[in-house]
Each structure stands twice: as C-alpha cells, then as structure tokens.
Amino acid sequence: MEKASAGMWRKIDTRYNLIGSECEKCKTLYFPPRIICRICGRDTKMRSRKLSGNGKVYSFTTIRVPSDTFKESAPYTVGVIELEEGPKVEGHVVENGKKVAIGSKVKTVFRKMYVDGDEGLIHYHFKFETI
C-alpha cells in the first residue's frame, strides 16, 4: 500500500529475504520480526534470523472480491503457512502442478505483487508455491 519508497525500503529484509527475529532467552521465533519478546518481555534480547521458507499450508482461501489494489490478480489464493521453524505466516499461495490443500508442502518464491499505476512503485513480495 506504500505510495512512497521508504515504507518499502525498510521492509526489504522481511519481504525479500524472510528475516524474522529470535528471542535469545526462550528461543521463540517471530515472523514478522518484533523488538519485544511476547514471552520474556524486556528481560531478553532479540536477534535476526533468516527462515528457510519451507512449510505446510495450515489454512487457505480463494479471494474472489479483492480490494482495488489487487483487482488485476483476482481470483487468487492466500493461506496461513506453518513454517518448518514454527512461526505461521500469511501470504499468497501459487500452484505449481499440485493443488492447494491443508497440509500441502510449500516453498517460498520471490514474485511481483502489484504495481502502483503506470509511474508508481512495483511491489515485490515472497509468495508460497506448492511443491
């Protein structure tokens, strides 16, 4: 939704490289990354951690009535993906030969998401692809 580039730029690590955060004390992994651990509060430190991007479909739906931004893409499938490291993530799911079902194995792919008109930013994001 960002119309200016700063909003995109500061999310490059998470959106392009799937970098989350891990609590040094309780080892809980978070995606998207956060500053404060939900379990340990301020009594710990967080460090960046790259996630593999491999996981399974926990739930999914096909969006048939989209917001204006995604009008060109509809209908499209989105899901809650349970990553192999633990965190659940929401995102687009694309089929690569295999149909999407709960439990389907997926991997992360880097894709164009949408374009802000003829002169605006091209938004890229990770998506999940069935394997």
Binding site: I63, V80, I81, E90, I102
Partner: protein
C-alpha cells in the same frame, strides 16, 4: 482490582433504523439515536456529563476526524468532555466499557455512550479497504488478504478440524434473517433459505455474500447512571453486571489458534466471573456474527458449547428465538446490519429491551440475564457485557 466501585445501570437506550440511509449523514444519525435515548431516560441534554463515541473509520468513510466533539455538539451536550473510541468493529462495545468505567469510578454520574458509522457515502471497494484496516495492514490487507478472507481462513480450518459444513454456517444467516423480520430497526427484514445462502455470490471460499454482514449506516446510544439513583430515571434499570475486554495479536497467523478467539475466551471467562453467573444462566445473547463462522466461534469461545459442537447445535435450532438460549434476536450483524461503530452499542440496546420486556414480537419470555459479545477485527479485540434486570 474492584475496590469501592459503584454499580452501573443503563437508564435509557435509543437506535436509528440500520441500512442504506441515503437521506441522512453521520451527525443526523447520531442525533436521532441520542434523542431516542434521552427521551427513554427522561433526561435532557444538560444532564449528560460525559460522552464516549464509538466510531471506527469516519476518516475513511466521510473524511471527518475529531468526531467526539462533533457528536457532543450535535447531541446538544454543551462543552462537556467527549472522547472517540476506536477499536475496529468493537468500537461501540469498548465505548460502552469506557462509559461503565467512568460511572463505576465515581468520576461521573450521567454518561452517554454513542456508536455510529456512515458507510454508504463511499463505493463498496473503498468500504472494503477501510474495513480491512481492522486486520493487519502490513501483513494481511497489504498482501491482498481481505477482511472476509481472514474469516474464510478461520472457517476453512474449522471445517478441517471439526467437520463444520457450509450448510451449518448458512444456518446462522438463515436464523438471523428470520429474527430481523421481527425487528423494525433491522436492515434486512426478509427471510432467506439455506439454498439461497449456498448459491449466493462467492466472496472468499467458503464464505458467500450471504455469510457476510452488510455495509450499513446507523447509530445507537445508551445512557448510564449509578445503579443507586437509576430508579429515579427508569422503572426498570438494567444493571451492567460485568464489563470486560481482552486483546490478542492483530494478525491471524501469529495466534495460538485460528479456530477460536483467545481474546473472546478471556473476556468471556472474566465476565462470567465478575457477574457471578454461568453460561447456562444466560437467557438472551447478542454475539458478533460479522460472518456466519464468527457466530459459531463465539458460541464456543463463550463456553455455550464445547469446541467443535456449536455449528451443529445452531443448525439444529438450539439458539433460535424462544429456544433454550435465544441468540441474536435483533437479527445480529447479518440481519440487523453492521454500521461498525454502532454495533457494540446496538447489542446493549437490544439486550436492554429484552430484559425490560420491550422487544415486541421477538421478546424472549422472562428474560432476566443477557450477554453482549463484540469483536474487533479478526479477534484482536473482544468485549463482553453481562446485563441483569433489577426487579
């Protein structure tokens, strides 16, 4: 932490008709509901000491912020303190809780709580986008996961884990439309069938348009007072026996479960404890059916049914009007309409009418204890109120 708190009662309630109110703007709607509540309490604008206004997205819907002062002015509450409360679709319920706290604490005696939304001055896609702000803008809406999409993700997993069917979800909408027929304030006063729901336009699988609450205009208002002086204003004051709220992560994926709302479970448990009643003591309930699956989750989260058992029970008619527990007698969000800021306050209005015995054709016989359950977003906020008739 409930030391020396005063007991709080509802002494007046008012509504506007919900629906596509082309002829009226936000300020007219709030004034209409407020006037009805003032007349019901038999007080004047000058008696009101403070206003809380539940409004979700007036900036997106009509380009107007700073809405609390506007509402106070339009209601004739000259120069009193006024605060807007925004908690997405739970804005109204949260505003009611703030009003309750203000009276319980002893800071104010007579407090007005309003809820209003004017949603039909924008196109449906602009409204969809504004409502999407109830979820996580960065990680849900910004990725094309619409608000109905979030509830579809919950529904799909609920179907997978508990065998819930599309027919059972449809039965929620059918029941709520049937109740709405008997409510002159409701947006949709017509019955629908299971088949019509199943064949309606798909929105986000498995949800169809008739599984979804509509875009609506409308307002609701209640007047609160300390219980000890409530009889001065009203022969049948309704005591707020519990007022609770809880939160959870804004995004669905980060929660422990997507087939129950932890915030609703926590606020429900706390409310039953505060009111010293059990789920089986409740005679009438208004629960947050923004989507058909949401009413199923609500009935489980509040402890009316064990996990995975509510869908069949609703489809079997166990929560129909006049059954063991009548749920969404107003028609709910689906049948009565869902002007988001107004909804939580409207739930309290309906429960008040039911407990006073003023609910006309949809009256639940002998209703003494009622519950209102108001959810914000996909469950990041939940507010529960338990109300009792004082004889």
């Amino acid at each position: 932490m409930m030391v020396n708190m005063r007991e709080v009662a509802i002494i007046g309630v008012g509504l506007t008709k919900f629906g596509e109110r082309w002829e009226h703007g936000l300020r007219d709607l709030m004034a209409e509901a407020g006037l009805n509540a003032l007349n019901d309490a038999n007080i004047t604008s000058n008696d009101v000491e403070m206003l809380y206004g539940g409004v979700m997205a007036s900036g997106r819907f009509i380009g107007q912020e700073h809405i609390a002062a506007l509402l106070a002015d339009q209601l004739g509450f000259k120069n009193i303190p006024a605060v807007r409360v925004e908690n997405a679709c739970a804005s109204g319920g949260t505003a009611l809780r703030q009003g309750y706290i203000a009276v319980a604490s002893g800071i104010h005696d007579i407090v007005a709580v309003g809820g209003v939304e004017k949603m039909t001055d924008v196109t449906p896609s602009e409204a969809t986008s504004a409502l999407g702000g109830a979820g996580d803008q960065e990680w849900e809406l910004g990725q094309g996961i619409t608000f109905p999409g979030l509830y579809a993700l919950m529904a799909k997993r609920h179907m997978h884990d508990f065998g819930t069917t599309e027919e059972q979800m449809a039965a929620v909408s059918v029941k709520n439309h049937k109740n709405a027929v008997k409510n002159k304030y409701a947006q949709f006063r017509r019955e629908i069938t299971i088949d019509e729901v199943l064949k309606s336009k798909p929105v986000a699988d498995p949800l169809k348009i008739l599984d979804c609450s509509p875009i609506s205009d409308g307002a609701a208002a209640v007047i609160l007072a300390p219980l000890e002086i409530a009889k001065k204003y009203n022969d049948t004051p309704i005591k707020i026996a519990a007022s609770t709220q809880a939160t959870d992560t804004l995004s669905l994926a980060e929660r422990e479960s997507i087939t129950s709302l932890k915030a609703a479970q926590i606020s429900g448990e706390k409310a039953f404890k505060q009111a010293k009643v059990k789920p089986s003591d409740i005679d009438v309930a208004e629960v947050h059916d923004c989507f058909s699956i949401a009413e199923i989750l609500a009935m489980e989260d509040l402890g009316f049914y064990k996990k995975g058992k509510a869908a069949k029970a609703i489809a079997d008619g166990e929560t129909a009007l006049g059954s063991k527990l009548s749920v969404n007698t107003s028609g709910g969000l689906k049948g009565c309409g869902h002007p988001v800021g107004a909804t939580g306050v409207k739930q309290a209005v309906e429960i008040t009418w039911q407990l006073r015995g003023e609910a006309a054709d949809r009256q639940v016989n002998g209703a003494e204890i009622g519950l209102a359950h108001n959810v914000g977003g996909s469950g990041a906020t939940a507010v529960v109120h338990i109300m009792k008739r004082i004889n």
